[in-house]
């Protein structure tokens, strides 16, 4: 770590972006000093979880070393500082997603829990037999199973927006799918398999016209695109800190105040209560109503540092970098005639999660092989089994990029794919 830090200091601390230099950014991430099977780590699994910059680790260390206490209700200095750190990140998140109110920002464990809260609390109170719930065929299990279960419990019908052969949403019959019986439309802004960026603005408009609410699964979009949830008029947004440089164990549910206020909490305990007697209880106000028990205080503090790091880089710059790198990767992969890439071919329409298949080598064998070259990719259904089946395969290999990835990383991947053909004797 020492020499890493020294390099960092020599190169001037926090990144300022005039030109976006992933090689420079890599230096902020201690994990890139490690090797895998004797090779430098090439991390292409950021859609699963991202690596963490030193400043995030330092914030955790600082939190536990100097401020650690339980939040709220505490009158001593540590408790005050811990509460301030926790609530400061709430405010930062509110800004980050377009300037919403801090009380509209609820800390959860992850995106999955955020979506579950809406499906359970809002869903069970508002969705009835004969209603419709609309999702898409490209949803992650986190934005599929909660709605499947809600439809089972309520008798509402679960409808899917289909996808085209190109991996885009098929909006040709959208007016039939989202109809006046539709209570909520829940969809991902960016697919974690196809990379597809969905036209959420358009869908939100259609849904709202039909009187339906919209939940955006932002697990893949918020880390990679500038997302202004206020401009989008989405009713709910869910995402996870660990996919955007932040720590594990903390996620966000954003909801419009008017809806959150009417919703019942789903977990009961300390913090979320205003008054309890032996026979009655009154909930606390927003946002604490939804935050039962001791929260992940250190996680919130560190997530604040991650957001600051991203803001210093600038979400526009991040998108531009990823667009370029995705274009480059698609080009390199297209040149390999034994590789089939899924999802949109136009880099403007997608992010940098790229699922592909080798004509002969099974994704698991490929991932194991690439790992011995130090290249981390993921193989499997990426928690989107129905989509995977739809693609006509049982699993895919996925390479996914982030701010620290370089064209060099992509070159290594392409070389690795070629080598795999040789190793498994398909050439």
């Amino acid at each position: 770590m020492k020499s890493h830090r020294q390099i960092l200091e020599m190169s001037g601390g926090v990144p300022t972006v005039t030109s976006f230099k992933p090689e420079r950014i890599k230096l902020d991430f201690p994990i890139f000093t490690r090797t895998v099977h004797g090779k430098p780590l090439i991390y292409l699994d950021s859609a699963a979880t991202t690596q963490k910059p030193q400043v995030v680790l330092d914030t955790i260390e600082k939190y536990y070393s100097y401020q650690n206490a339980n939040v709220h209700r505490g009158l001593h200095t540590l408790a005050e500082e811990a509460t301030a750190a926790y609530e400061a990140t709430r405010t930062k998140v509110a800004e980050f997603i377009g300037g919403v109110k801090p009380e509209e920002v609820i800390f959860t464990r992850n995106a999955t829990e955020a979506i579950n809260i809406v499906a359970q609390s809002w869903g069970e109170a508002n969705v009835r037999h004969g209603d419709r719930i609309v999702i898409t065929q490209m949803e992650h299990h986190a934005n599929l199973v909660p709605w499947l279960m809600l439809s089972r419990k309520t008798g509402a019908k679960l409808k899917y927006i289909k996808i085209t052969g190109d991996g885009l949403l098929d909006l040709s019959d959208i007016d039939e799918i989202i109809d006046s019986r539709t209570k909520i439309v829940a969809l991902t802004q960016m697919s974690n398999v196809l990379g597809t960026i969905n036209p959420v603005e358009e869908i939100i408009e259609i849904a709202h016209k039909k009187g339906a609410m919209v939940l955006i699964d932002g697990a893949q979009s918020v880390p990679h695109l500038p997302v202004d949830i206020k401009a989008l008029h989405a009713d709910f947004l869910a995402f996870s800190a660990h996919k955007m440089l932040g720590p594990t164990g903390i996620g966000i549910l954003y909801g419009k105040q008017e809806f959150l206020e009417k919703m019942e909490p789903v977990t009961y305990g300390g913090e979320m209560i205003s008054d309890v007697r032996f026979e009655s209880v009154r909930w606390n106000t927003l946002p604490w109503k939804f935050e039962a028990g001791t929260p992940h205080i250190a996680g919130a503090a560190a997530f604040g540092a991650a957001l600051q790091y991203l803001q210093n880089l600038g979400m526009d710059n991040i998108r531009r970098h990823e667009l370029e790198l995705t274009a480059y990767a698609l080009e390199r992969l297209a040149a390999l005639d034994f590789i089939k890439v899924f999802g949109p071919t136009d880099p403007e329409k997608r992010g940098g999660a790229i699922a592909f298949a080798d004509n002969d080598i099974h994704p698991h064998d490929l991932a194991t092989f690439l790992d011995t070259l130090g290249i981390a990719v993921r193989a499997g259904h990426h928690c989107a089994q129905p989509l995977t089946k739809l693609l006509g395969v049982s699993s895919t290999t996925r390479a996914s990029i982030y701010i620290y990835n370089t064209t060099d990383d992509i070159d290594h991947l392409a070389d690795g794919l070629n080598e795999a053909r040789k190793y498994f004797r398909y050439v």
Partner: protein, 154 residues
Amino acid sequence: MSDDLNNLYRDILMEHYKFPRGRKKLEHADIHNEGQNPSCGDELEMELQLDGDKIKDIYVSCVGCAVSVASGSMLADTIKGKTLAEVKKIAAVIRGMLKGEDVPDNIDLGDLESLRGVKKFPVRIKCALLSWTTLIDALAAREQGAEIRTSTTE
């Protein structure tokens, strides 16, 4: 002791705490409200008797810490005899001051000046706010002809 602490527990605040004003029950009340700081357990009862648009008499009873009791006592002292409009203005100024805003030059705070020390203790601000929030909510409810049950500062 630390300056901040002395600034919080000024003599005048402690005097109001130990000998709070407005503790005499009213024969008849025009406005009634209760306040609560659930996380502390502080509870407050407030009654106002009006004479036209003037506060004729006030009853404030607070079970709580020095800051919340003293703040309620000063409130009683201050608003007695004032018009509703004046009271609303003072309440807004005090609320602003506790939240860190500047106090307009033309306002004489009297004893309330001593609440300034609370600012340095963020978690105690809601103690000082309790009586003022209870008052403001009660007046707002009255204007709108709404019923009110309990105010809280959280």
